[in-house]
């Protein structure tokens, strides 16, 4: 047999509504977050999210390098998203590329809208996101990791920032796309939510959706973010509930 092209596209959604990896349309991949994974960073987190593995480290507030980026009224938030050469099937050429610059920028901007940067003028809060293994949704996984790392670093902010991608694959609106759904699906819509206010601070889109589908997707995404928010909170509680309690009785 051989209708070229068609044979390469996997079936993304079964007639029963089951996705290629067995999930339902509104189901997230398994997520595991470890807060405080690194010793030398001011704050850190390791996120395993489906087949993604992402490490985030936060340094600061600290002196700004390079100096000319310093701002007199608030801290600058500098973010560096990077994918390891071994993070994907084909070796990824190391270093900056347009994609990683874009992600660094949108992630930094998402944090700018929640971090209380005015408390630390003339300083820098440096966020490093290293993708060790990638399987779609790494900007969201990176953002989640960085957000937990920022909390672990004691940085004041309005809220944690859960993030997830929603999209369309096999004709259905689905949450938390995996690699196949991302590659062969019809649309991808990563988003980050401030649970406290209900605002979205990151929203990008690739592909096509109708207006109605977009509305459904946003609802699904907000739901997904709320689920992720709980996992993020639990990760921080796990790290700090046993830890530092100032001694009151001698």
């Amino acid at each position: 047999m051989g209708s070229v092209g068609a044979k390469d596209v996997p079936v993304l959604l079964s007639p029963e509504g089951i996705r290629i990896d067995g999930r339902r349309v509104n189901e997230l991949r398994p997520i595991k977050i470890t807060a405080g994974a690194l010793k030398h960073a001011d704050g850190s987190a390791f996120v395993q999210w489906g087949l993604n593995k992402v490490m985030a480290a936060v340094y600061g507030p600290r002196e700004v390098h390079p100096r000319h980026l310093q701002q007199n009224t608030k801290a600058v938030i500098q973010c560096k998203y990077n994918m390891a050469a071994f993070s994907v099937d084909e070796r990824k050429r190391p270093g900056l590329d347009r994609r990683s610059q874009e992600i660094s920028k949108v992630v930094a901007e998402a944090f700018e809208s929640v971090v209380f940067a005015e408390e630390f003028p003339r300083t820098s809060i440096d966020v490093y996101i290293e993708v060790l293994q990638a399987n779609a949704g790494t900007r969201c996984a990176g953002l989640v990791a960085a957000s937990v790392a920022l909390a672990d670093a004691g940085i004041p902010m309005a809220d944690l920032l859960p993030a997830v991608a929603v999209g369309k694959a096999g004709g259905a609106i689905i949450v938390d796309l995996n690699k196949e759904e991302d590659n062969f699906g019809e649309a991808d819509l990563p988003m980050a939510l401030v649970p406290q206010s209900g605002r979205l601070v990151l929203l990008q889109m690739e592909g096509h959706m109708t207006r109605e589908e977009l509305a459904t997707a946003l609802d699904l995404g907000v739901q997904g973010c709320r689920g992720i928010y709980e996992i993020m909170q639990q990760a921080l509680r796990d790290r700090y509930s046993v830890a530092p309690v100032p001694e009151v009785t001698a």
Binding site: D42, G43, G60, P61, R62, E63, N72, A75, F116, F120, P121, R122, T123, A151, D152, A153, G154, I155, P156, M157, A158, D159, L160, V194, P195, Q196, S197, Q233, L236, R237, Y240, S241, V242, A243, P244, V245, P246, E247, V248, T249, A250
Partner: protein, 286 residues
């Protein structure tokens, strides 16, 4: 999780009390709503509409008329009169820049030292990498941190090494009335100076330094409410070498350098926002 309840009487410490009826210390996370009970939003919180939320990860604390969150992590946030240990990161013509673990480097001006330094001669007194005990003198709204080396117990640290602990753990390193730090110096014979910024200077023979390091690690990782001093003491006893086993160390006396003399940090007034800790101190003679 078994709730650990306080055993002794609550001290009406400056940290205030937990607003939780059980007296349990409540961990809050950024974005979490706080029951404000009519209190105003204090440090570590923010208000939107009529509701108060935490802005940092920490322990909830009521300190009327404010409700606040005491951070459990993060960099050292300087407060006036804190005695801290800094490491020189840059030398300029009239001042040195010190890394005190704060968001910014702290300039130590040559007029803030006991030395008669000529302009341009700063490097003859302090070089990059050397450490000093200084006091936070003034803070301005832009985050500049002024420090001075003029005052009892302040000065350059000769020899020894510096161990970092979280600034949030300094009260436990010092212990009630200095009990923890006294235990450590007595059991190891090392000289120890604790800065409010979580930098701990340790001097003595390598074995002693190692044991102090381990003790500090125990304190950093300990999550329990009480008995820490006893546990540290029994650890230090168990690691004492045979010729000194079971015996308290003699004062580290005359061989000790005198740049950070006994009771050095005790001159600083009690910091107003610390738990039950005493001000940092060196304890050479227990």
């Amino acid at each position: 999780m078994g709730g650990s309840h306080r055993t002794g009487p609550r001290r009406r410490g400056p940290r205030g009390s937990s607003p939780h009826p059980s007296g349990e210390r409540v961990l809050v996370l950024p974005g979490e709503e706080i029951p404000s009970q009519g209190l105003k939003p204090g440090p570590g919180t923010y208000r939107v509409g009529g509701r108060v939320y935490a802005s940092v990860l920490g322990l909830l604390s009521a300190r009327p008329p404010f409700v606040q969150v005491i951070p459990l992590s993060g960099r050292y946030i300087p407060k006036p009169n804190d005695v801290v240990i800094g490491t020189v990161t840059d030398v300029q013509g009239t001042f040195w820049l010190l890394d005190i673990g704060a968001p910014r480097w702290a300039p130590l001006h040559m007029t803030g030292t006991p030395w008669k330094v000529d302009v341009g001669e700063t490097e003859q007194y302090l070089r990059v990498g050397e450490s000093v005990v200084v006091r936070v003198e003034n803070l301005d709204p832009t985050g500049r941190i002024g420090v001075t080396m003029l005052g009892e117990g302040l000065g350059k640290l000769e020899g020894g090494s510096i161990v970092h602990v979280s600034p949030a753990r300094v009260p436990r390193v010092v212990g009630r009335g200095g009990s923890m730090i006294q235990t450590i110096t007595r059991q190891t014979g090392a000289q120890v100076a604790v800065g409010q910024n979580g930098r701990v200077w340790v001097n003595g023979d390598p074995e002693a330094i190692h044991r102090v390091r381990e003790a500090l690690r125990m304190i950093s990782e300990d999550g329990q409410r009480s008995g820490l001093t006893e546990r540290v003491e029994s650890y230090l006893r168990s690691t004492a070498s045979s010729d000194e086993a079971g015996e308290d160390h003699p004062p580290a006396g005359e061989s000790a350098h005198r740049d950070a003399p006994e009771g050095s940090f005790a001159s600083s007034p009690p910091p107003d926002d610390r738990d039950d800790s005493d001000e940092p101190r060196t304890d050479e003679n227990n």
